[in-house]
């Protein structure tokens, strides 16, 4: 199906474990983003990518790692999960260019770290 998908939708993991959240988009958008959503904070940018092999930190990057070997995929890895990383994670993508294109969001992954 066309669009932006995330997997898994729900994940429970233990403190200290490594976990990877997947994001896949079918539009060939240049830009991709990872956000976390927490009560009272809205959405905060973790990492973003302007193109394959180009990534940069957002507002809250500590404890996270990203890669983008292919345009359509943008996985987010928590190297050693902590309880403070319990959150809902959203991936988004956007076209690039002079026009300020909107971002398209995936359905989210609800991560619980116990």
């Amino acid at each position: 199906d066309a669009g932006i998908t995330q997997s898994p939708r729900y994940k429970i993991t233990e403190t200290g474990r490594q976990v990877t959240l997947m994001c896949h988009q079918t539009w060939s958008h240049s830009y991709m983003f990872w956000y976390r959503q927490d009560l009272g904070h809205g959405l905060r940018l973790i990492y973003y990518s302007a193109a394959a092999d180009i990534t940069d930190k957002g507002e809250v990057p500590d404890g996270y790692v990203v890669s983008r070997s292919k345009t359509e995929n943008f996985p987010l890895t928590l190297e050693s999960a902590t309880r403070s990383q319990t959150s809902v994670y959203f991936c988004a993508s956007s076209e690039s260019g002079g026009t300020p294109y909107e971002q398209y969001f995936g359905p989210g992954t609800r991560l619980t770290v116990t």
């Binding site: 809205g42 302007a50 940069d56 690039s96 300020p100 969001f105 359905p107 989210g108």
Partner: protein, 117 residues
């Protein structure tokens, strides 16, 4: 620091009444402005955006937003609310700096809209 403020955690309106969800921003220059809506257990959906021109922008589902440069505000409005409009609404801003081509959005904390029958 650049920021977006949504001063109301929740807005309650009766169905059929007009609604307003407020947003102000503190971002230098003339940023691009966006509204998104989030329904339960779903990702954010784009509603509308302001780039330039007319201060009143029309978007999806009958929503519109009014840009006020002097007040640095971008309030979301709808003339007649529906129960199905009940959701979480986010205002977002993208700086318009030539040196910043990151396309990053700065989000407000969100406002929950509750439309009662």
């Amino acid at each position: 620091a650049q920021s977006v403020a949504q001063p109301e955690d929740q807005v309650n309106v009766a169905e059929g009444n007009p609604l307003t969800v407020k947003c102000t921003y503190s971002v230098s220059g003339n940023p691009y402005l966006f509204w998104y809506v989030q329904y339960p257990n779903r990702g954010l959906q784009f509603l509308l955006k302001y780039i330039t021109g007319d201060n009143l922008v029309k978007g999806s589902y009958g929503f519109e937003a009014e840009f006020n440069k002097s007040q640095t505000s971008f309030h979301l409005k709808k003339p007649s609310a529906l129960v199905s409009d009940s959701a979480l609404y986010f205002c977002a801003v993208r700086p318009r700096h030539r040196m910043d081509s990151s396309y990053k959005l700065i989000f407000g904390s969100g406002t929950r809209l509750l439309v009662r029958p």
